[in-house]
């Protein structure tokens, strides 16, 4: 709010809700945000951990069985050589994108509401990228040999990666994305670890958090360099996050398969990634803010804003579908047109129509303020969007592959029990990592929330003085 705006008071119902609710001081914010770290996690946390770690155990068993037997334990086979592994890979990477969007792009656009959700979303990015990376790694069959054709390792066999292959670009994009996200997350975490160190009463915690806070003492000279590093990381993460899903979409777009060979893929993959990522943030945030007592910093305004982003990106994705199908029809290629018809009317038509329902229709509930404020509706829509985005990758990958140019090579794809075990297993890995994160690290970026509180206070002071 500018100083001039203070002269004409804004009516109550048009005023934006505050991003930090209630009268808060730095002390109360520290106490409330660190409370979930100090307190006994409670029965609910242990029960959730028991469920997620069971699925994690299933994942470990599935991977062990796969490595001992071979990738034949998956359902992929001619003509569908890419199936659940690549679907899940693209799905998990896409989910990660919301974290970087919130932490980097919204920072550059100076959106104050990113502040309380960024830590949360960045952690989600890290765990989602770990889940994603498991799949292509295992898909190489023998990952310990794959290193020779994925990264340039000097060797006497004259083996180098084929750098003209989008699959090799993927390796670099995903590993860079993970590393940069981890660095970004950790840099933001250092001041909060220092707060944990200095607010803790037990010596063990003091030592552990002291070790990870690298001796941070909050000096203005340090903050000055920290702010530059943080801003520059945001600056380089912004093109990075756009490049990652663009490169993932190149895996398909550079091929000649009808349904893959299209130039609309990079932008609509990125929009779809943000769409599903925000849905995942909401699915996790709504229960977490309730159980962790963080409603004063993760407010309804945050949820409202995220719903609006889901609405916008949902329409971007819908527009992408329309463009894609228009281009297919306009190309006049019988294979491209055939692919549209197979999607709509073929044996997997259910997946296409469910996808249209989840991605293009359901999110329109968010046009209504009352729907954006009903947490049950928001949570269910978010879950459906994640289902829809998973189905989108299923339609692109499996449906495009199962009927290509030659009817003689057509076939069906059915997942095996190992495929199912691995997708639920990666969800277990994701959930376990997330629960551990919620227990040991503040889920809300404390230093940044304090800064926001201070800025808001200053603005109010200026407004009063101008009055």
């Amino acid at each position: 709010m500018s100083a001039a705006a203070a002269h004409t008071p804004v009516p109550e119902h048009l005023r934006e809700a505050p991003l930090i609710e209630g009268p808060q001081s730095d002390r109360t914010l520290t106490d409330s945000i660190l409370h979930p770290v100090w307190r006994d996690p409670g029965r609910g946390w242990w029960m959730a951990l028991a469920v997620t770690s069971t699925f994690l155990g299933i994942l470990v068993l599935c991977i062990a069985y796969l490595l001992l037997t071979g990738v034949g334990v998956w359902g992929n086979n001619s003509p569908v050589f890419w199936a659940f592994d690549i679907i899940n890979f693209v799905w998990w990477v896409g989910i990660g994108h919301a974290g970087t969007l919130i932490s980097a792009i919204l920072l550059l656009f100076q959106q104050g509401w990113r502040t309380s959700i960024n830590r949360f979303a960045e952690a989600m990015t890290l765990f989602a990228v770990i889940c994603a990376a498991i799949y292509p790694g295992l898909h190489t069959g023998r990952p310990w040999f794959a290193a020779y054709w994925l990264v340039p390792i000097p060797n006497t066999m004259d083996i180098w990666p084929n750098f003209k292959s989008p699959l090799v670009w993927d390796v670099f994009a995903i590993s860079t994305y993970f590393t940069v996200s981890l660095l970004f997350w950790y840099v933001g975490l250092i001041p909060d670890l220092a707060t944990l160190r200095d607010a803790s009463v037990s010596r063990t915690r003091r030592l552990v958090y002291g070790f990870f806070s690298l001796g941070w003492r909050g000096s203005a000279r340090h903050w000055y360099n920290w702010k530059w590093a943080y801003l520059l990381l945001a600056g380089i993460s912004t093109p990075l996050v756009l490049s990652v899903h663009t490169i993932v979409s190149f895996d398909f777009a550079t091929s000649i398969i009808p349904g893959w060979h299209t130039t609309i893929f990079p932008p609509y993959f990125v929009a779809g990634a943000v769409f599903s990522g925000f849905a995942m943030v909401l699915s996790l945030l709504i229960p977490a803010r309730h159980f962790m007592g963080l409603k004063h910093v993760l407010t309804m305004r945050h949820i409202d804003n995220m719903c609006k982003i889901i609405l916008v990106t949902g329409w971007m994705v819908t527009f992408g579908y329309i463009c894609e199908y228009f281009a297919d029809w306009y190309s006049g290629s019988i294979y491209e047109v055939g692919q549209i018809l197979v999607r709509m009317l073929g044996p997997y038509a259910w997946s296409f129509w469910l996808l249209v329902f989840c991605n293009c229709i359901v999110a329109n509930l968010f046009w209504f303020r009352s729907m954006r404020r009903n947490l049950w509706v928001v949570w269910i829509v978010a879950a459906l969007v994640n289902v829809g985005m998973w189905l989108e990758r299923f339609v692109i990958i499996v449906v495009s592959l199962h009927r290509d140019f030659m009817p003689a090579s057509w076939g069906m794809y059915y997942p095996t029990i190992i495929d199912i075990g691995m997708i639920t297993g990666t969800m277990g890995l994701f959930g376990t990592a997330f629960l551990v994160f919620l227990k040991f690290v503040p889920a809300v970026a404390l230093a940044e929330v304090k800064e926001l509180r201070y800025e808001t206070e200053l603005q109010l002071q200026h407004a009063e003085e101008a009055h």
Partner: protein, 200 residues
């Protein structure tokens, strides 16, 4: 420490403030009375106006990041071209031979097709600049660091929670008392002194 020549200990005079504006005003007053490089502010979040009050020079982090970006992108492009588009036959043997490139002919495409090298060139530029930003920031800040004199003061814990601390250093015993008084006049609380390198 058991140095042969005992160096004069550095005195760290610390004081805390409840309000950010008081803290910044105190720093400005201390700068007027001649203290410069020996001043510092400690806060739980980046305090606006602290750089200006302390008169800090421009951060070197952006320059480091720029150099790292150029270095990373250059390396990314070179490695790809070397590995896929050159094969220097004079490199042979177990060590040098392992570095020899191999002209990869896939689908009759030209060996050196620069547009296809752009994604990895970009990614490596980003990767190395991210390391540059983080490691550069830590190195300039002198972190990680296991210990620092300010941590000797128990009350200094509040710097990471809800208070604004300032520190002034001096090697002069007489000036120490004078600075303590000056801090008290400026409204600082919890005024304490730590001797660095005296007896540990």
């Amino acid at each position: 420490m058991s140095a042969s020549k005992p160096k004069p200990p550095t005195h760290w005079i610390l004081g805390s403030f409840k309000r950010a504006d008081k803290c910044l005003a105190a720093i400005r007053a201390l700068r007027v009375s001649g203290e410069k490089e020996n001043l510092d502010i400690y806060s739980a979040y980046p305090l606006h106006g602290a750089e200006a009050a302390l008169g800090l020079k421009r951060s070197k982090v952006p320059l480091i990041v720029l150099c790292c970006a150029i270095f990373g992108a250059f390396n990314g492009y070179t490695v790809q071209t070397w590995a896929n588009a050159t094969s220097v036959s004079s490199l042979s043997g177990e060590w040098l031979g392992s570095l020899r490139g191999y002209i990869l002919d896939v689908g009759g495409r030209t060996a050196h097709a620069w547009p296809l090298n752009i994604p990895i060139t970009f990614e490596l530029g980003v990767l190395i600049s991210a390391f540059g930003a983080v490691l550069g920031m830590l190195i300039i800040n002198g972190l990680p660091r296991l210990h620092h004199p300010v941590f000797e003061v128990e009350a200094f814990r509040s710097a990471q929670i809800d208070r604004y601390w300032i520190s002034v250093t001096t090697k002069d015993d007489l000036k120490r008392e004078q600075l303590r008084e000056q801090l008290a006049q400026l409204g600082a609380e919890d005024i304490s002194t730590v001797e660095e390198g005296a007896d540990e």
